[in-house]
Amino acid sequence: MKNAKPMVLISTPFVAYHEIVVKETDLLEDAWGLNSVYSDVIQFLGEYKPEPENELISRLVELISEYK
C-alpha cells in the first residue's frame, strides 16, 4: 500500500460524450476504416489541392455586385 497512487494518476480518465469531437469525421467512413487502412493513398490525394486564384474570386465578386 506504500507505493499505491491515487486512482486518477494511474487510470485512464473517462471521456464524456460531449468531449468526443466528431464534427470533421465521417463516422461511416471511419467505421469502414478507410482512412486508417489506406492512409498512404489518401495522403497522396491530399497533396493536390486545386484552388482558384484570387483574381478569379475578385472578378466573381465584381460580377455578383453587378447582378440585379
Binding site: D26, L34, V41, F44, L45, E51, I57
Partner: protein, 195 residues
C-alpha cells in the same frame, strides 16, 4: 454577418441585400467547387468559366426563390456545377469538334511559374499529374466518389444522395477506388515527393 452563420442564414441575408454574405459563401466553398470542376475539365480557362457560372446560377436560383434549405447547400451547388460540366460536354458533342480538355497547359506560360520557385513548381506539377493519372484511371463510378469525398468534401450520406446509390455502395466504391489507386501507385512507383 456572423462567420459562424449557416449557409442558409447567409443566403437569406444575401437575398435581403447584404452582398458580403454571398462573398462569405464563396469563401467557404470556392476550393471545393473549383477542385470538383478541375477534375473533369482540364482547360484552365474553361474551369474558371464554369466556376463563375456555377455561382452565378446559384445566385439566379436563390434570388428567384428556387432554393429551399434542407441543410445540403454544398451538395446543391455541386449538382449545379455537375450539370454545367455535362452541358459543356454536350455542346462539344453537338459541335462535333475536338475538345481541348486533354490539353495540358504549358507551364512556361504560366504566370505563377516565374513567381514561384521553379523546382517547387515542377514538383507540384508532377504531383498534380500523378494524382490526375491515378484518379483518371479509375472507373467512372469510383472516380466520382473519390472526387466528391476528397476534393468536394461531401459526406458519404451526401455522396449517396447525389449519385443515387446506397451509402454502403458509395463506401464500397471508395474502398475499390483506394485499392485500385494503391495498385497503380505500386505499378507506377508513385511516391510522395513533398512532405
Amino acid at each position: 454577418m456572423n462567420k459562424t452563420s449557416s449557409d442558409y442564414e447567409l443566403i437569406q441575408q444575401f437575398v435581403r441585400g447584404e452582398q458580403s454574405c454571398f462573398e462569405e459563401i464563396i469563401r467557404r466553398h470556392k476550393n471545393k467547387v473549383f477542385a470538383y470542376i478541375s477534375f473533369y475539365i482540364r482547360d484552365q480557362a474553361l474551369v474558371e468559366d464554369i466556376f463563375q457560372d456555377t455561382f452565378l446560377k446559384v445566385i439566379q436560383s436563390v434570388k428567384s426563390g428556387k432554393y429551399y434549405d434542407n441543410g445540403k447547400f454544398l451538395s446543391w451547388v455541386m449538382r449545379i456545377a455537375h450539370n454545367l460540366i455535362i452541358d459543356h460536354f454536350r455542346r462539344i458533342k453537338q459541335m462535333n469538334t475536338t475538345s481541348n480538355d486533354d490539353y495540358e497547359s504549358d507551364i512556361f506560360n504560366s504566370k505563377k511559374f516565374s513567381d514561384a520557385n521553379i523546382e517547387d513548381t515542377l514538383i507540384k506539377r508532377q504531383i498534380q499529374k500523378d494524382v490526375r493519372t491515378l484518379i483518371g484511371r479509375l472507373p467512372d463510378d469510383q472516380k466520382e466518389v473519390v472526387i466528391l469525398r476528397h476534393y468536394a468534401g461531401l459526406s458519404f450520406k451526401e455522396i449517396a444522395e447525389i449519385t443515387n446509390v446506397s451509402i454502403n455502395t458509395a463506401l464500397g466504391r471508395m474502398r475499390y477506388a483506394l485499392i485500385n489507386m494503391r495498385k497503380i501507385m505500386e505499378e507506377k512507383q508513385i511516391t510522395l515527393t513533398i512532405n
